[in-house]
Symmetry: C2
Subunit: 339 residues, 2 copies
């Protein structure tokens, strides 16, 4: 959905959309605190044109809450275990409130020690990862995060799925510009984008996935219906996905992508795993200001012919949404009001 595709588009102020989403989350069992965090996250994705993590996700949140799979009232338990290490037990709730509960202390530790790590376990992450890292870059810090999901990716060279889509997100400040931010599934395609392709009746690029028999397919429904995704970039993407399992689950105490059983919770969509965030204070290192160095890199990337940098489209969509409101299709709005 581009900004020029205005035929069936309604635009709503960000705050109104957030309030509407918050009411939905609360109606379906979330505490006000959890609902506020999730509503801001989901509205931000919609605002930035990240549609696979925008209001598209709301039916999944609602069916998950209805299934009793996730605790919408969970109060995360934060433990400061070392000068640079915070551990959070999300207590079966969503990952975003767990991060919110630790964010300030994580930033303080990173500024004091130069680097700090946040290990979240017993958590459900059903959103984009860039909203978790971007605010650190806006505060002048560098952030890296990984989260594992549910088994749907066949490791390179294996014959059955094991890993999740296991994204990696990174954010760094840039002088005179929005932060440099990327958020990439280590699968060839994000799971939400496969669902969107299936809904739209579109084909997937070759190399994206396999069907239930393990054969390559470009049909998104075949991938979703007993098939699986492949890692991006062959054995290298597969190794990165393995690293995400080790960091987001092995290190945090969360479940690996295959270690939870939601079969007794029909409607459950959220992987019950873990998440790791590493935050670095670049002012501690030698050399000129980091944000000026980022700016220099961006200049050179433009000079090499790059017309779009990672994260740039989101910031462009955001600027439009701030002027005109957040774009929703009429169908999306109708669905939200029904929820």
């Amino acid at each position: 959905m581009s900004s020029s595709d205005t035929a069936s588009i309604t635009r709503m102020p960000f705050d109104d959309l957030q309030r509407l989403l918050q009411a939905i989350f609360q109606r379906h069992g979330c505490s006000p605190e959890v609902a506020s965090v999730l509503a801001h996250n989901c509205a931000s994705a919609q605002r930035d044109g990240a549609h696979s993590h925008g209001v598209f996700r709301m039916p999944g949140y609602v069916s998950t809450l209805a299934s009793g799979w996730v605790d919408g009232q969970a109060q995360p338990q934060v433990s400061e275990v070392a000068a640079g290490f915070i551990s959070v037990d999300a207590r079966g709730g969503f990952a975003q409130p767990a991060l919110a509960a630790a964010r300030e202390r994580l930033e303080d530790k990173a500024r004091a020690a130069g680097i700090a790590v946040l290990a979240i376990h017993n958590s459900h992450h059903f959103a984009a990862l860039w909203p978790d890292v971007e605010p650190f870059a806006e505060a002048g810090l560098i952030a890296l995060s990984v989260v594992n999901s549910m088994t749907c990716v066949v490791p390179h060279g294996a014959h059955k799925p094991l890993f999740g889509t296991n994204p990696i997100a990174f954010a760094a400040p840039c002088h005179g510009a929005a932060p440099i931010v990327f958020d990439m599934a280590t699968s060839a395609m994000a799971h939400g984008d496969v669902q969107i392709a299936a809904r739209a009746g579109e084909q997937l690029p070759p190399g994206t996935g396999v069907d239930a028999a393990g054969q390559p397919t470009c049909d998104p429904r075949a991938v979703l219906d007993g098939g699986a995704l492949l890692p991006f970039g062959g054995h290298k993407g597969s190794a990165l996905s393995m690293m995400v399992e080790l960091l987001a689950a092995g290190l945090t105490g969360g479940h690996f992508s295959w270690e939870f059983d939601w079969s007794r919770h029909p409607g459950a969509k959220t992987p019950w795993t873990g998440q790791l965030l590493i935050v670095i204070d670049p002012s501690k290192a030698s050399g000129e200001g980091f944000a000026l160095r980022s700016q220099r890199l961006v200049e050179q990337m433009h000079a090499a012919g790059l017309t779009r940098l990672p994260g740039q489209r989101r910031f462009q969509e955001r600027a439009i949404a701030q002027r005109q409101g957040v774009a929703l299709t009429q169908a999306e709005l109708t669905q939200l009001r029904a929820l």
Copy 2:
């Protein structure tokens, strides 16, 4: 070179090879301390079958030292700038002695704070990256490192080279087994492997590189002769390569991959950049022992049909070398003796 390819192979005890390489480094201007670190690194790569970083590199080291481009006598300056942050000025020397000078303090900081970062700048890295991270995993820690190199990779969507091959290496302990270790160029192929293909007269896989005119080519000589490499995995590998520039150069105070000019040092081969290492103590997090969790992941990867895990071939080659000596071709041995 496989272990069964024994026709023209000489085998030499590891210590003898290390002594021979140390003598070469010292003869060509390295201090005994620097020579010892580099000789151990290079002999380890040869021992483990990582031939693009084994004795294959020695002529490049020698010509670089002869050119005056790198200071083989440099004494790295270590600064502990925060509870979890060490900065090292390699003073125009090699990166490995800079890491060696800080390794113990880095490990101490990681165990105390839960996480620590080492930022090396003003350094030359001409070796594999896995030897830098593997020892931390052997000590029960998790390590991640990135290093940028010299401009030879066209960012995805750009029309001229900017990034280096910019590898990422990761190591984690695994109960009852060798550590899980990977070391991957973020280019479609490592530069050393392109050189080896050129020497062997072999073709590159499609998508590896472009020629001097920017056109796709499978000829390694066309890549080396004014051409360039492509990132692995399209825009995702390209974003990771950008992240490596930001972390290894932007953060450390080192040069970006395009920021040094070695034109007045004919024979210089070593990129004058920076390196970042992050070390995490997994014992700080909740949950069962990390190494047992790694073991569980490895079991599941085998159950999914993986016959070879990252780093495994190196450990197999190492085991053979420990019994039989390190394999060298007769040509390699002759060349070493000439140096």
